[in-house]
Amino acid sequence: MNLVNAPHNTPLRIVDLAGGEGVRRRLMALGFHKGDIVELDGQAIFRGPLLVRGCRSDTTIALGRVVAQKVLVELVHERS
């Protein structure tokens, strides 16, 4: 499951950052790493970007869909 098809307003754990090195580096610089818990807070119309909130740092970023597809996540309660 990636961020585009993940449910909203539910804690999600990042299991992997796919995609090119540039995108991965950028996401990590913004504080989004493998293992972090995030939540989807909203999205813009016409297949616009998604709002992703890092639960620990409480920072929100907007991710275009191409980027969001590369962030692989799982539901947090699946593991616990």
Partner: protein, 643 residues
Amino acid sequence: MSAPRVPTVIFIGQPNSGKSTLFNSIAGHKAETSNFPGTSIKHTHSRVNIEGRLLDIVDLPGTYSLCTTDPAEQIVLTHLFSERPDLVVNVVDASTLSRGLELTLELVELGYPMIVALNMMDVAERKGIRVDAAAVEKLLGAPVTPTIAAHGRGVKELLERAFEVLNKGQSLRTLRFAGDVEEKVAEVERLLPPGFPVISNPRFTAVKLIETAGHACGDFLGEVEPGLKETIDRVRRAIEERRGAPAYEVISAERHHQAMKLFEETGRVLHGKLMTWDKKVDAVLMHPVLGYVILAAVFLAFFFIIFKVGSPLESLLLGPFNKLKEALAARLGGGLLFFLAEGLIQGVGGGVAIVLPYFLPLLFLMSALEDLGYLARAGFLLDAFMHRIGLHGKSISPFILGFGCNVPAIVSTRILESQRDRILTSILIPFIPCSARTTIVLALVAFYLGPLWAMGFYAANILAVAAIGWVISRFLKEPSPGLILEIPSLKAPRLVSILRKTWLQVHSFIKFAWPLLIGGSLVLSLLSYFRADRWINDILAPLVVKGLGLPHELGVTLVFGFLRKELSLIMMLQALGVDYQHLLTAISREQIIVFTVFISFFIPCLSTFVILWKEIGKKWAFVSAGLSIGIALVLSWIVRLVL
């Protein structure tokens, strides 16, 4: 003997950490010499006198980390590494502390003397985050001062701590990575060849060699130090095999965990007190329907205010200049002296009365929207539309500004982190009809052909911008990286900080553009004194008469249009020797449209050209100029054929 050396203090922080606000509150009212921007977008620096001691303070663009592939952020690295500062002031947003600490830890690794400003303590408080500054200080070994830069709080203490470190020095406590990673770092450190350009200390250099993107130093290393390149490749592979992730990711994750641990040890999150109202406001601002309604309202209000403030201010300011010109005409007659004086007045008047009235309110409102955090939200809402022309949501605010005046619009492309997006946006902006061109469209097209024609003209213009963007983006090799945009928390803008920001930008514009405006104006006056306008008309005749089907006399107006767009209209009437009411006796309706199309798409004005040069470089400024001339010719020729 020369005076003692003035210490350099560099401000570094992640974007939206309030770094510039803090910088401005120190530089703003204590600046000894005026503030001036660096050679390009690089940095702002200022020499300040703080209780008798001089400091050179430098504000660098916001950066998320010291290991970046982002061209705008690399400027920070170049500056930091090449001009070793005496002190680093690391500004951290306390409300997003665990992320901000990642950069702080990198700076500690770098090991330059540093202090930390734990900024936006009020926002953190609202979010229910408590940070024990003393505990952070103890763990880092660097002074940590809580500040609220927007209110000027904590600034004095921060400066005191700065002098303390400058006087006495300090010993930072570098946190170590996990044993297996640290072992590999030590290996590279050991194998650094003698004479290798070490940045600050061998460990930092080794870490950066491992985690910096391969292409950044790969070629250089391969040529100069083939042995070291092999070592690094081997170490990277070893880390990757062990951890199952690329070395850069492992090191970044190590730092991420250090930062989270540090935050856990020094901060507390009181969950009962989450700032619910911010979340509610954001839910409306970024709502799929309401968000767009608000967006439209904000921008309509934005234009309305700018035009309401700008046009009366413009006529108010233009009045004295016109009177002065008349008075001089009476005194000096028609001699060379008069022409020179006229050129000078035109130049100064253009700078003061044409540019400033729109420029000032624009910069002011823009700073307000920026400080509020609204621009990021607008970018989020409009991202999908911008993708069609090869850009993304972040380019929205420069475009919007372009309708007022292209010059501040191009300046504001600085917010774009990718150079590709900056260039594409800056090249498109000159095609957006600014207020001066709107005046011409209204005066010529709306007046002689009707308001519907003017509206159609406007719509066609915007379509043309989109089409040009679509075409150019096909030629730019690198694709747009896609939107990764931080949405900062909403903040109530502070008047003082907005005014300071506005002033710094106006000042740098004046210093840069006025000499050119005045110089250009003088040259044109001399041209007309020596009757060179006739030759220009003759030279341009094949283009103007044969190509566009316009009267021979209009050639020179195109040159004047380059200096200032509104002048084209006045010059057109002068050149044709008719007054505004009787224009149709001299040229036809079709010719009016062709002329307006040409003027609209032709190089916007000297100020725009100059600011392009300053912002994205000479090459692109000429590309833009060539493109606008080409497109202006093609479009007006097509219009001539169609009509």
